[in-house]
């Protein structure tokens, strides 16, 4: 339970720092880079190395490659839809979430399983 609380606080803090940096930067496309900052990864990997060791953590990092490819496709599709169609931003971003899961788990089943 304590470990989960530490993860929650560390993750929340790192994500907030990168989000704040993104908020104050202009232009928007540059600020957007921080939307894909390795915030959850830094919080998780740092704690996992301390608890489980480097080899275990490296396996998580390997899977993260599939997650990053899924993120690229997700963000590209969201950007494309928002530029062309008059849908609400919240619905487009939430509606595209299954795409992230499909690509990430698809890559997992093909290359990592």
């Amino acid at each position: 339970m304590t470990q989960m609380l530490i993860r929650f606080l560390a993750g929340g803090a790192v994500v907030s720092v990168f989000a704040l940096i993104g908020d104050v930067l202009r232009p928007k496309s540059f600020a957007g880079l921080f939307g894909a900052a390795p915030s959850v990864a830094l919080a998780t990997l740092g704690l996992t190395v301390a608890i489980k060791g480097a080899s275990y953590t490296a396996v998580e990092a390997r899977s993260m490659i599939a997650g990053a490819i899924a993120f690229f496709i997700f963000a590209s599709v969201v950007s494309w839809i928002l530029m062309r169609y008059p849908f609400r931003v919240l619905w487009v971003t939430l509606g595209a979430m299954p795409l992230w899961f499909a690509v990430a788990f698809g890559l997992w089943s093909v290359a990592l399983k």
Partner: protein, 163 residues
């Protein structure tokens, strides 16, 4: 005209604490879930979540709201402008995700044999360098120039005129 990178604190002044609390909450929840998934399903599945777009919907909605409010202060309907700003931000995130990919590769390759602090530090620097490099390429129109060159090459190969 190219817009230079600059720091603008107006977004911080216009934001409510609840919006930052929401992002803290999402970030914390995803990090905790990644830990739980690792315990139950192992590191291979948990690793996927390290690149999950946890705060993406909250951030994009916030950007839409700020842009819309700014336009409406000037008496202009900002709905389209808000959506466009969120789209441009998402394009930036797509470029940043290429940096995220490099972060993952470096961490995976070097973590087992080197100091964790040094590897995570180097991976973060690599994320920043790759992301900014891709962003610069796009700003300078390298993508468009390459696309034009490929089209021109294709026209030449198919027997079209090449000036």
């Amino acid at each position: 005209m190219r817009m230079p990178v600059k720091v603008d604190g107006s977004a911080l002044r216009d934001s409510k604490w609840s919006q930052y609390a929401l992002r803290f909450l999402f970030g914390g929840i995803v990090t905790a879930i990644a830990g739980l998934v690792a315990q139950h399903y192992g590191p291979v599945i948990a690793g996927l979540l390290l690149a999950f777009p946890a705060i993406f919907p909250a951030s994009a909605t916030l950007i839409e709201k700020h842009e819309k409010q700014q336009k409406e202060k000037n008496g202009i309907n900002g709905t389209v402008r808000g959506r466009q700003a969120a789209s441009v931000d998402a394009a930036g995130s797509a470029m940043g995700s290429l940096g995220l990919l490099v972060f993952a590769v470096i961490t995976w390759q070097f973590l087992p044999a080197h100091s964790a602090g040094a590897v995570l530090g180097a991976s973060t620097v690599a994320w920043a360098v790759v992301s900014v490099f891709v962003w610069q390429l796009r700003k300078r129109g390298v993508y468009s120039a390459t696309k034009a060159a490929v089209r021109s090459f294709a026209r030449t190969k198919s027997g079209g005129l090449q000036c």
